[in-house]
Symmetry: C2
Subunit: 200 residues, 2 copies
């Protein structure tokens, strides 16, 4: 089995959500699975001096238009959440907790949490709401909720952020294929060709 595609994302990232809906099928076409790496862009942005996209003059207005347009371009359901951006510690920790149990559960939980936020306008920064989404995927509801406050899981998320920064990750979505880094939803075509050819 070839190594999985590493997929780094923040749950508050619209382009991360859109890419999460495409990456598994793309990876599978090339006999790959996906390793899901929830990170906190707020931590990563301290390295780069970046600020949330939608808050930047000119770029912010454009990005809101482009997010909705890109969703329609790719045929993916999308609604800009009424609260945005959000803190994403709760959903990220629940996914790391789920990944420690069952990678299938983790993947399912990623999709359900992202869709809860970007389709159903559920504020997944709320730990109870995020745990309820995980429970709808088959997770134990109380255990998922407890994971949000578990020091070991908190540490695991810190390590994810540190590892991501060490690998050069600075945005969401961010893909690493056999060591090669790709940033952004719009780089799926390059990810596809890299998986097919091993580079160019």
């Amino acid at each position: 089995m070839k190594p999985p595609v590493e997929f780094y994302f923040d749950f508050s990232s619209p382009y991360g959500y859109l890419a999460s809906e495409k990456i598994e099928a793309l990876a599978a076409m090339h006999g790959r699975s996906v390793d899901w790496h929830p990170i906190l862009l707020g931590v990563v942005f301290k390295q780069t001096g970046a600020v949330p996209l939608t808050t930047v003059p000119l770029k912010g207005e454009y990005s809101r238009r482009d997010m909705a347009r890109s969703a329609r371009f790719h045929g993916i359901g999308f609604r800009m959440p009424s609260t945005f951006p959000i803190a994403t510690q709760a959903p990220a920790r629940i996914v790391l907790w789920a990944a420690g149990r069952d990678s299938g559960l983790a993947a399912k939980t990623v999709h359900s949490l992202y869709r809860a936020f970007f389709v159903d306008d559920i504020d997944i920064s709320n730990a109870d709401a995020a745990a309820a989404v995980a429970a709808s995927c088959g997770a134990d509801a109380e255990a998922a909720r407890a994971a949000v406050d578990d020091p070991a899981i908190k540490d695991a998320l810190k390590r994810e952020n540190e590892h991501a920064i060490a690998k050069g990750v600075f945005g969401s979505p961010f893909f690493i294929v056999d060591g090669e880094p790709f940033w952004g939803l719009d780089h799926l075509d390059q990810v596809d060709r890299w998986l097919a050819t091993g580079g160019w």
Copy 2:
């Protein structure tokens, strides 16, 4: 004749160069021409607080890798210039001067100036060097060189920057198709579909 595709670019922008090599053929496929709008990203970045991409931690290293990789992906010759980034008043003014005479000359000069910088490593921030490139396209060498210091042409470039900002342009390359804005080399696929369908 349908309206031209508006193409905004800075001569120091690698992704602007790569897009300049693709946009004419793409527009022509849909019966469109291209209006070339040289702008100064330094002026535009004052609106958004942006800084040159290659100077940002993590993102800078990635962008240098991605620029060369994206050039190979699209089959376009590219070499990172030894002096980068550069001030681009001289080439931008020469193009505006040429556009006032002959739109064919302007387009030819855009391509030759971009290739001089990103293929042949000629420092086109130098007014003499930029004028020599224009002369190789058929322009009058002395007149092209004089345009760089011509107050009327300086004003024309100021107006280009102001118009671009008023239209929401914040980066390079930036395309406007029948009023719809698209940012970035990676949005050529959306530009293509918008030209084909008129929107989605």
